[in-house]
Structure formats: C-alpha cells, structure tokens
C-alpha cells in the first residue's frame, strides 16, 4: 500500500474537516452572527458619536474577532476526540504536527475567513474609511490565522476536561494579547497617518512564529490528552 505524501495527508485533513463543517452550517453561521451582534452592541453602549466610534472601532472589531475565534475553538478537536478519530490520527504514520496544521487551517477557513470578509462591512458601521478599512482587512487576514494557531494549543490542552469552554478562554486570552495589540494598532496608526506597515509586519512575524511553534505544542498537548 502506498503511503500518502505529507501534502496529500494535509489536503485530506483539510477537505474532511471542511466537508464536516459544511454539513453543520449553523455552527459556522453562529460565530459570524456573534461577531456582528457584538460589534453592533458597542455603538449602542458607547453612544452614536462618530468621532468616538472611529477611535474605538478598530479595537472593538479586533476584540470581537478574537472572541468569535475563541467561541469556535471547541470545534477544532472535540468531535474527533469523542468519536475516536483523533486517536487514529495520533497513531498513523503521518507526523501529527502536519495533521494539526490541516485541522487548524480548516478551522480558520470556517471561522476566521468569514470574519475577515465581513470586517469591511462592520468597519463602515464604525465610520472607518478607505485606507483604514483596507488595513483592517489586511490585519485580520494576517492575525486571525495566528489566533487559530494559538487557540489550537489551548483547545488541545483542555480536551475532555470539565468546564473546558471557560477554561480555554482563560488559558488562551493572555496569549492573544500581542496579536490584539499589533492588529488594532495597525488600524489606529494608519488612521493617525503613520501607516500600518510596521504593525502589519509584526503581525506577519507573529504568524510565522505561531506557524512554527504552535503545531508542535498542539501535537504535544494532543498526545498528553490521549495518553
């Protein structure tokens, strides 16, 4: 029997997870809906002053995106953990970190990409204009994969633990701080006329760093959970 190559294994995992997600479309819709609601609550709480909304807009959207990602973290591994698929993944010959990358990528397509695509619309609600909107989309495009990568570590650590939903938030949120600072900072500095490039490249650095470390940490956490 031919062993599938790494690339094939990766593609297989992504395709399978996307298919599963497509069968449960309401899950996907829920995190998008959550993002829209959270983003709409802020103007109601802070007041409709356009100047205020413009200044808090980037931060609010970033925090909302971060929370939406957090809410969907439970879906990365839980179903596979419960029906035993995860155990098979640990046992097969393909390196576990590669499979983790596949699962996280699928998670990002389902929960991160919709956030990126929706963000210009929400940005308009907060009175962000032309360039700032572009930087917002770009920062989310670079930042949300990082959130998914880091979140996967937390999701793997709390597999099968009681109260895991709240626990994963407590574990992962401190790790999200740099991404939040750089992401929201990119938009604010571009609005201040300083350009968002510096922050965006730091976001890119975070993404590379998390792509490098997180699959290994996640794989270690999965092995610990399945022992």
């Amino acid at each position: 029997m031919n062993r599938p190559s790494l690339w094939e294994a990766l593609r297989g995992v992504v395709r399978r997870d996307l298919l599963l997600a497509m069968r449960r479309r309401s899950d996907v819709a829920m995190s998008v809906f959550f993002l829209v609601i959270v983003a709409s609550l802020f103007p109601l709480g802070v007041g409709p002053e356009p100047a205020v909304l413009r200044t808090i807009g980037a931060g609010v959207l970033w925090v909302a995106a971060l929370l939406a990602c957090l809410l969907s973290l439970g879906r990365v591994f839980t179903a596979d953990y419960l029906d035993g698929v995860l155990e098979q993944m640990v046992l097969i010959a393909q390196p576990l970190p590669v499979l983790v990358v596949g699962k996280v990528f699928a998670h990002w397509i389902v929960s991160g990409l919709p956030v990126v695509l929706l963000s210009p619309l929400l940005g308009l609600q907060f009175g962000l204009d032309g360039e700032a909107l572009g930087v917002l989309v770009l920062s989310l495009l670079l930042g949300t994969p990082t959130l998914s990568m880091i979140g996967a570590i937390g999701a793997a650590l709390v597999l099968g633990v009681r109260g895991s939903g709240l626990l994963v938030a407590l574990l992962v949120l401190p790790l999200y701080v740099p991404v939040l600072i750089f992401g929201a900072g990119a938009v604010t500095s571009s609005m201040a006329g300083m350009g968002g490039e510096a922050n965006l490249s730091l976001l890119g650095a975070c993404l590379v760093l998390s792509l490098f470390f997180s699959p290994w940490a996640t794989a270690a956490a999965l092995r610990i959970a399945l022992e």
């Binding site: 570590i153 650590l157 709390v158 633990v161 009681r162 109260g163 895991s164 626990l167 407590l170 574990l171 949120l173 401190p174 790790l175 701080v177 740099p178 600072i181 750089f182 900072g185 604010t188 500095s189 201040a192 300083m194 730091l202 975070c206 760093l209 470390f213 940490a217 270690a220 956490a221 610990i224 959970a225 022992e227």
Partner: protein, 248 residues
C-alpha cells in the same frame, strides 16, 4: 554521594526538610538587614522623595515573579524530557509563590504609581506584562486543578507554562511599541535615575531575601505535594502502593 537517588520524591522529602530551616534563616536575615538599610539608613530620593522606598519590595517581587515563572517552566520541561515526577512536583510547588509575588508586584506598583505618575494604573509595558503574567500563573494553576488525572495535569500545565515563557517577552515589547505610538501618555516611564549605592544595596539584599524565602517556601510546599501524592490510594497511584512503602 549519589545525587540521583534524590530524584525519587520520598527520598527527596527528608533532604528538603533539612534545607528549609537554613534557607528560612538566611531569608529572614537578608530581609531584616535589607529593611533596616532601606527604611532607616538610606536617604530620601531627590526626585521621588520617600515614595521611592516602595521599590524595596516592588522590584524584588517583580523580579521574583518573572524568575519563578521561568524556573517553573524549566522544571516542567525537565519533567517532560526526563519523565521525572519530582520535577513536575517542583513546578506545581512554584506556581502559587510566583503568583503571590506577581500580585504583590502589581499592588505595590499601583502604590508607587499614584504618587509618582499621579494615577494608580498606567498601561505601560512593565505593568501590563506583569498583569498578563498573573493571568498566566492563574491559567497554569487552573488547568492543573481542572484535570483529575495527575500525569496528564502535570504535562498539560507544563506545556502551557512553556508556551507562556515565549509570550511574556513578546507582550513586553509589543506594549512598549504600542506606547511609543500613543505618544499622549504624559508621564515619562523610562526615567530611571541613577541609584545611590546604599539604595542598590538595600534592594539587592531584599531581592536575595525574597529569593531565599521562595526556596524555603517552595521546598515546604513540595513536601506537602509529595505527601499528598504518595499517600493516595494505590489504585490511583501505583508507585505509592503500601507494600512499596513498607519495603523501604
């Protein structure tokens, strides 16, 4: 002398017991002398007046909080690399002391900030990273208590501690960067005046005292952890089965 035999928790237990009084005495002496010099002998500071004396507890607490986190992560890493149970117990014993020093550093930082900066809280790099550090300590301890299986709890919180080590410096630099963008902050946070030798002496003595105190407390706590774990019923902890204990 064969040191490796002390990697067995029950063999380490009496050794730790013998070390605790020494570290406690040294800690008490260093802290007493440090307090004497810092509060009674050292002159007042030209710019910060007497509020600067807060640094004699604040800076040592902040240093210990970060140092202990790294030490905790190292013990967890050794535990995972060598599959050593005592290392995980050390990591478990360090976390509460580290969290306490983090808390003290935060509160005394606020107490120092009010007279110096005019406000209890400023989102500067040091305070923010210290706050996140407190969250990370809380996360490590919460994860441990949420997992019933000891072996898994050790390893999972170890992974989290190691990930956190990468996070703290990134947060420090990101907040610093963030603050240089927001030039509005009116207080200069980098004003570190040259310290007189006597002040430095007091601060270093206090740091040394806190360090020795941490060792004493952590050894005492690791003894508790050993007792708690080894005396669990045999079905949950095969290494502490009664016949093993009696055979020694």
């Amino acid at each position: 002398m064969n040191w490796s035999k002390y990697s067995a928790p029950l063999a380490f237990y009496p050794l730790a017991g013998k070390m605790i009084p020494w570290f406690s005495v040294v800690a008490a002496l260093a802290i007493a002398v440090g307090l004497y010099i810092g509060l009674l002998v050292a002159p007042t500071d030209a710019t910060q007046h007497d509020s600067y004396r807060i640094i004699f507890v604040h800076v040592p607490a902040a240093w210990m909080s970060m140092f202990l986190y790294v030490v905790m992560a190292i013990w967890a890493g050794i535990g995972m690399g060598l599959n050593a149970r005592l290392s995980f117990m050390m990591a478990q014993a360090i976390a509460p002391t580290g969290a306490m020093f983090t808390f003290i550093a935060l509160v005394t930082g606020c107490m120092w900030g009010k007279p110096t900066w005019g406000t209890y809280w400023v989102w500067d790099a040091r305070l923010t990273s210290e706050l996140i550090l407190l969250f990370q300590y809380a996360g490590v301890m919460l994860l441990r208590t949420s997992i019933d299986d000891l072996r898994r709890a050790d390893r999972a919180s170890g992974v989290l501690a190691l990930v956190g080590v990468v996070n703290i410096p990134i947060i420090y630099f990101s907040v610093q960067w963030w603050n240089t963008l927001h030039q509005g902050a009116s207080v200069s946070m980098t004003a570190a005046p040259k310290m007189a030798a006597i002040m430095l002496t007091a601060m270093l003595l206090m740091t040394f005292g806190f360090w020795m105190y941490s060792i004493a407390v952590i050894l005492a706590r690791v003894r508790c952890v050993i007792l708690e774990r080894e005396s669990q019923p045999a079905w949950s902890n095969p290494s502490a089965a009664p016949e093993v204990a009696e055979a020694r």
